[in-house]
Subunit: 154 residues, 2 copies
């Protein structure tokens, strides 16, 4: 069955190119049923976060009325980038299946290696510098959050 979903998602990715999108697609499947489909919409929607996996995860969560994808599998035309991998961990599907590898993607000009390399560096030493501005109030949002959770729990 995995091969059939993979063939379908690869076909969607090719079709998305013909429609002016990027060469990526994703499907969210639960119990053999497609919950949501997504294709790369970065340039068409002017949205750098609109990778196929993000589009499909958002749509599947909307359909399921949940911010978690319990018992769902995600089929991707290509191995997820670090952003999508992070999104997958926040969404918690059961498994991910992918067709093309990050090497195939890099050969076509979609190179994640820079992001993996940057992730491993200290924030201030990244090519997009990430600068810590210390402030007394920094943890106040967390304190309010913990206060609310305590109120809900007791």
């Amino acid at each position: 069955m995995h091969e059939a979903w993979i063939r379908q998602v690869v076909g969607m990715a090719a079709e998305n190119v013909r429609r002016g999108g990027g060469p990526f697609a994703a499907l969210v499947v639960r119990d053999g049923i497609v919950i949501a489909a997504g294709a790369n919409q970065v340039t068409r929607a002017n949205d750098p976060t609109a990778h196929a996996e993000i589009v499909a995860i958002r749509e599947a969560c909307r359909v399921l009325g949940s911010f978690q994808l319990a018992d769902c599998d995600i089929y991707c035309s290509c191995e997820p980038c670090p952003m999508c991998l992070g999104a997958i961990y926040w969404a918690r599907p059961a498994r991910v299946y992918f067709a093309a590898t990050h090497c195939d993607a890099a050969a076509a000009g979609f190179d994640d290696a820079l992001i993996y390399e940057q992730l491993a560096r200290p924030p201030a030493e990244r090519s997009i510098p990430m600068i810590h501005v210390a402030t007394d109030a920094a943890t106040q949002p967390f304190q309010e959050w913990i206060g609310q959770v305590d109120k809900l729990a007791y």
Copy 2:
């Protein structure tokens, strides 16, 4: 000036908690002007990708009509998670400033360490297994993409 934006974004994060959201906010600023603001909407919108940074980046790109945030700075109430860090690299702002650190977030129960650790593992060995399904068609979307780019270029 950075301190003023940081104070503002931390205040937004605290306000978001009072409105039932998560304790995170982000601002996109260009030439001293706020282009977009975002607060965590994960539970309210049933969207695991609706971290403050993603919400703010999407809105800023919509406002600017571009999928790149050239010359923009992003102010975050907290150090970005790996998903948001990936989104930041795809959006290419000039700099990121943050108030709370990932250690502050972890102390409040928002722990990114698992995701960093999982990113470093081979796909099949992750806690959410990511399984390569080889298929002859895997690179066809990329071939169509390269064909289109060549057509545009010549």
